[in-house]
């Protein structure tokens, strides 16, 4: 967090006719940071990215990229960006080399350095052996890589990737994620996605946008804290009276759950796990399961993006993973 902001977006807004797709969004990206941009479909992710990349004019607000204002000095600002849109802008009739050379020329890379830039980008994206092939004949995964190569060929300080892993097989997804992490070391990366685990594995910071507004902007570490909720899930063979458990120091309330487990809510600073274990052994309750309940990113995401925000008590009752909730009859 000590380096200067690479991208500074202030109060960005965008109307499509009467519909306001982006409402006063502000954020910054620094070097060496991967920013995950999350949101449900139609939340304004792609619009925001199109605006930052100069493909759409904003209705209001300002964007500064590496010190260049995108609206006042678009050429300088755009030269600082590499952008991979949802649909990679590939000329199917060109070979990979021809295409990358063209892209390099568009970024004003001098002729003498173009080959080097192209080879570097190809090496980064694992395209070494595809130089002479037509882009139209490549598989979807390789086309996606060409799309990424095109975005980084001019070594831009900022790389914007809009859903880069859509339509790839699991191995390719892993490779692309690794690549994004690598890119994040030298560049500032904005990654838009609606695949939540992707964010957890690749990003340093997460932003959730809903209905055109930023509803969360948090580092991954901060998010981890968010995700630890102050509750335990316990299961006994011989369930004691709830009142006894409620009297344990630190416990606020106890709720039975559907599958015979109990949910124990405690004060965040006073974890009663030890005390409960001790009592369970002493009184022979037959404790067979105890674990801290964690909110998944998915839940946080749902909480923030669902219209009727449920109160904390009911949200924490949702089992940590969606699959678990399917076990009930």
């Amino acid at each position: 967090m000590n380096t200067a902001a690479l991208v500074e977006v202030k109060n960005l807004s965008r109307f499509y006719g009467a519909l306001q797709a982006v409402k006063g969004v502000s954020f910054t990206i620094r070097q060496g940071e991967v920013l995950g941009f999350l949101g449900p479909n139609g939340a304004g992710k792609t619009t925001t990215m199109q605006i930052i990349s100069g493909n759409l004019a904003p209705s209001g607000g300002s964007i500064s990229i590496n010190g260049h204002d995108l609206l006042e000095d678009p050429r300088a600002a755009k030269s600082q960006i590499g952008y991979l849109p949802e649909n990679p802008p590939l000329y199917r009739e060109l070979t990979v080399d021809e295409y990358l050379d063209y892209r390099a020329a568009l970024s004003r890379i001098p002729l003498a350095r173009r080959k080097q830039a192209r080879n570097h980008a190809k090496a980064r994206c694992g395209l070494e052996n595809t130089g002479g092939r037509l882009i139209g004949n490549l598989s979807k995964g390789y086309q996606q890589r060409v799309g990424i190569a095109q975005a980084i060929i001019h070594l831009p300080p900022v790389v914007i990737l809009d859903e880069p892993t859509v339509g790839l097989d699991p191995i390719q997804i892993r490779e692309i994620r690794l690549l994004i992490r690598e890119l994040g070391e030298e560049h500032g990366v904005i990654l838009s996605t609606h695949i939540l685990p992707e964010v957890q594995t690749t990003c340093d910071r997460v932003q959730i946008i809903n209905n055109g507004e930023l509803v969360l902007s948090e580092s991954i570490d901060g998010l981890e804290k968010h995700m630890k909720s102050a509750s335990l899930t316990v299961a006994f063979h011989r369930v004691p009276a709830l009142e006894i458990l409620e009297k344990v120091p630190g416990v606020n309330s106890v709720q039975p759950e559907t599958n015979g487990r109990l949910r124990i809510f405690h004060e965040p600073e006073r974890n009663p796990t030890e005390e409960i274990l001790r009592m369970a052994v002493k009184k022979n309750w037959g404790l067979y399961e105890i674990r801290p309940a964690r909110l998944s990113l998915e839940q946080i995401f749902l909480d923030l993006t669902t219209e009727a925000v449920p109160d904390i008590e009911t949200t924490t009752e949702i089992p940590a993973s969606a699959n678990e909730s399917r076990t009930e009859p």
Partner: protein, 249 residues
């Protein structure tokens, strides 16, 4: 930058079979017309010799050839220009240009330049036909030059209109048919003035009326400026239209 975009455009034209088809069809038809005309000239040559003030071979062959070429280009240019922007929009490759550090003006001029290069090549191939007569006759190079200059300006205008139509839509065929319609309308505008004497404003706007003098070997700067204005207008409109893409979304 304009050159980069233009050359890629040219390359893409040649990577599709369309370019070769157009080159060969245009060449075939013009060659047929050209040979037909030359044959007629040969037929009457002996009679011409006896007469005074008869047309020379250039005057007999070239205006007719170029007049037909203009009609042929009217059909062919829309097919070439239709994909310039429309196809990129449809394939979503326009993003590449929009997010690169190039201005709209450079994009439009680049694309125009690319198509112009191709059309000039087509003109060059056409010009080789009358030039081949040099082997057996003396040509009126002034008339030839003026004719081809006129044709070059004319197809330049066709291409500008085509480019603009292509920026309006994402369907190549829509761009092609609109271009063809607009050009044909410009071409036949003078028909409305046929009943009247000259001076009809609408007829004055007709492309044909500004092309004809070139074929007769008359270089009128007003005609040249008409073409240049037409080209500029449609290029500016294209730039504005692409800018509106960014603003309107």
């Amino acid at each position: 930058m304009i050159l980069t975009i233009g050359l890629r455009e040219l390359k893409s034209i040649f990577l599709s079979p369309l370019a070769w088809a157009i080159l060969s069809v245009v060449q075939l038809i013009l060659a047929y017309l050209f040979l037909g005309r030359v044959e007629i000239y040969q037929l009457y040559q002996s009679q011409f010799l006896a007469m005074d003030g008869v047309p020379g071979v250039t005057e007999f062959v070239v205006p007719d050839l170029l007049g037909n070429a203009a009609i042929l280009f009217l059909l062919v240019v829309p097919l070439l220009t239709m994909r310039l922007v429309a196809e990129e929009r449809r394939n979503r490759t326009l993003t590449l240009l929009f997010s690169a550090p190039v201005s709209m003006t450079e994009i439009v001029l680049g694309k125009y330049f690319g198509i112009l290069l191709f059309l000039l090549l087509l003109l060059l191939l056409t010009a080789l036909m009358p030039l081949s007569l040099v082997a057996g006759a003396s040509l009126d190079f002034g008339l030839l030059g003026s004719g081809f200059l006129g044709l070059a300006l004319l197809v330049g205008g066709f291409a500008a209109v085509g480019l603009f139509m292509s920026t309006l839509t994402q369907y190549s065929t829509v761009a092609a048919i609109s271009t063809f319609g607009a050009l044909l309308l410009f071409w036949i505008l003078d028909w409305s003035g046929q009943g009247l004497r000259s001076g009809n404003l609408i007829a004055y706007l007709s492309l044909f009326n500004h092309y004809k003098p070139f074929l007769d070997g008359i270089f009128d700067s007003a005609d040249a400026i008409y073409h240049v204005l037409l080209i500029t207008t449609f290029l500016v409109l294209s730039i504005r239209r692409l800018d509106a893409d960014r603003i309107g979304g």
